[in-house]
Amino acid sequence: MSENILEIRGLNKYFGPTHANVDVDFTLKRGEVHGLIGENGSGKSTLLSQIAGLYGSDSGEMKVNGQPYKPHSPLDAYDHKIAMVMQELGVVGSLPAGINVFLGRMNRFSKAGILNKKALYKEVADILEKWDLSAPPLNRNTDGMSIESRKMIELARALSVDPEILLLDEVTQSLSLNNRERLYKLIEKFKSMGRSIIVITHDIEEMIEITDNVTVLRDGAVVGTVISSETTPDEIRNMMVGREVEGGYYRDDYAPDFSDKVELEVRNLTVAGEIENVSFDVHEGEILGFCGLSDSGIHTVGQAVYGLTDKKLTSGTVHLMHNDTYVNNATTALRNNVGYVPKDRDNEALMIAANIRDNFGLPSVHVIRNKGTGFIHPGKVKKLSNDMVDKLSVKTTGIYQTMDSLSGGNKQKVNLGRWLAKDIKLLILDCPTRGVDVGVKAYIYSIMKEAKKDNIAMILISDELTEVLGMSDRIIVMKDGKVSGEMDRSEDLTEQKVIGVMI
């Protein structure tokens, strides 16, 4: 057995005119956790997809255990003990969770063509137990489940192959802190068993923490490989972008800084079964951060403030001070200068198959329309979209390009920009940088800083602690649906302190 379990030499992949992977050389050792990092469109997911047998390669060769390896399908890759958890593929919603794990490979649970469901579920439960992952009910259909549970099913699917090489594409971004911890343990266990993992994540700090080596990709080509214990986030960031990242990232001041005027007054906000008696104020020009574990209810707070939660289950008041309005439903919020950026960008925020113009225009339609005749001037919508595309420098061929052909970062620019096109007094941001690369991340932070200068009140809900610490004036920590702590921005506020209140 050679020391290298996977060797890739001169791999190329084209998508039409796009050269997605350029002469990629890559080596994975036994027992190594290897990170892949790069901006959106740098070709890291494409590389993993080729290893996992989803795409063929146009030239170059791969070797597994020194043997030539050319997978035709994911099932082929499974036979070589290679399995992947994909970033945005998911599961079949109309089938039970357990079936999803072995879908397409259920033959071994069949006798005379008849499937033994019990044996199958037991095997899935065993896998989840073996790797200490939280298990959703296996006989329930997945479409009622949270993103997190569905990710667990996908993980179980990959692990069911008992892989020697596990490929994880942006898995942590859908997980909350406690499940992330579990995943880190899984990675360690894998390593101790002499197996190998390739990880893609946008979170550079996390990447350095959990990997042995990191390979940086840019424009489809390998820029270089560094040893995780000897590098810094800044070094990696510079390698990714190819120049010094200017102007800082998070805020560079270390004190709360906002007006005395209260914009939003929330009192005793309760959503039965999710959050309880949450009260807080947000001031003009303030960024109020929310963090907590997966059941803490931070995302529900955002929905409830925007009036999206079930009326029958919700009580308490959400008071907008600038025009003395109480938010009872989302329509009131929309009409009273509130904006909301949901967590699940593709499913909750954007019309993914529609064009950029329609996405930019939708929240503003009621403002643009002629109040008397109801006439919506097409030219005005067009102008609004063109202006915003220019202002946010969205990379696109024009406002009639459909959203699904944009990169994650550019999608997020549209998602945010459609609110900035309006006269907004309060902006609720739920994981605004989820799944976007460093460049766009920095850009979103700069937009937030600008909005802050414009005296917009903001609620920042995030699963990334560093982000909340880096951007917020005050932080509210939640636990089991209740507020468990409140802290002001200061230089010596550390992650450890916040985590202490979270758990």
Partner: protein, 329 residues
């Protein structure tokens, strides 16, 4: 950053299909097709489908389906006409038909938007149930003829004026007001639309109400063309309308593929096929029907191939039924 909207193949096909059909039948009928009489007939024959289709458009744009328009038209017409006959006040048929149609639409909207009954299930139930009621009423009261003081609805002048008003009004509502924009948005992604703060339930109900309203209006056209009620009123009009809507290039998923002009083109194309076939002497229903079917398949196929090569990759096989099945289980 200004950019001209690229014309997609999928957007041209409805035009192309219509023109090719027209030329084909014009040639095959040695020009008879394009005579003033036949062109007028073409529009006459399309009126019902177009009027009703304008309403169905709102529902289809939202990704739902309304197959109740045929039976709704029949019910509205039968009731409207009966009221007119009973009271002796002919014009009453018009408001009564429209109110009846709107009420049925409201019921549909309530059941779909508020009670979350899948629109396909509801449509089938209404197709069966309301047709039963209509038949029941008609066996009791028989066929009724347009009373003299209502005869104006049979005149071309009235019919074309009303038709023009409907076209302009609903083109405006669909293409240039919130109702149309929001309906498309709901078809693109209902969750998104709700998360933005648009009252989705209200707009879903409204779409069915509009559809019902126009079914009521359609009843007036139907009675105007026949001169009274009939057992055949609105029979399979819902299928014709649905075909016209989808034939015009609107996807079953609705959204931004829903366009007003597509309803008109789709309806006209289908009428060109039926009238064209009878003009070239294939009116014998056993042939014309199967030729109609084959022609429809061919044109749909061409549309889909062309739109795929035209870059719109969103033509995914999705029936209204799957969509709802996926969402509820």
């Amino acid at each position: 950053m200004m950019q001209k909207r690229k014309v997609k193949a999928a957007d041209i096909i409805p035009f192309a299909a219509f023109i090719i059909l027209l030329i084909f039948f014009a040639a095959a009928s040695k020009g008879k097709m394009l005579s003033a009489y036949n062109l007028k007939l073409l529009i006459e024959e399309s009126i019902q489908t177009i009027v009703v289709g304008c309403g169905v458009l709102f529902v289809v744009a939202q990704g739902s389906i309304d197959l109740t328009v045929g039976v709704n038209l029949a019910l509205s017409g039968v009731i409207g006409m009966h009221v007119a006959t009973m009271t002796g006040v002919g014009w009453l048929a018009i408001p009564v038909s429209i109110i009846c149609g709107t009420l049925v639409g409201l019921l549909n909207g309530f059941l779909v938007a508020k009670c979350k009954v899948p629109s396909f299930t509801l449509s089938i139930a209404m197709l069966i149930g309301v047709r039963g009621i209509v038949n029941f009423i008609q066996t009791k009261i028989g066929i009724e003829y347009v009373p003299d003081d209502l005869r104006f609805i049979t005149t071309a002048g009235f019919r074309f004026t009303l038709f023009a008003i409907i076209l302009v009004a609903f083109c405006y509502i669909f293409e240039f007001t919130r109702i149309g924009r929001y309906s498309q948005a709901i078809g693109e992604n209902e969750t998104t639309t709700r998360f933005i703060g648009i009252p989705v339930t209200k707009y879903k109900m409204l779409a069915f109400v509009i559809s019902g309203f126009l079914a009521g209006v359609g009843a007036i056209f139907s009675m105007g063309s026949v001169g009274g009620t009939s057992m055949q009123m609105g029979v399979f009009l819902e299928m014709r309308t649905a075909m016209a809507v989808f034939f015009g290039g609107i996807l079953v998923t609705g959204g931004s593929s829903a366009k007003f002009y597509k309803v008109i083109l789709g309806s006209l194309s289908i009428t060109v096929i039926t009238t064209g076939l009878s003009l070239i002497g294939l009116s014998d229903s056993q042939y014309s029907e199967s030729i109609e079917g084959i022609l429809l398949l061919i044109i749909l196929f061409v549309t889909i191939v062309a739109s795929r090569t035209g870059g719109r990759k969103k033509i995914v096989e999705k029936t209204p039924h799957t969509k709802e099945a996926g969402a509820q289980s």
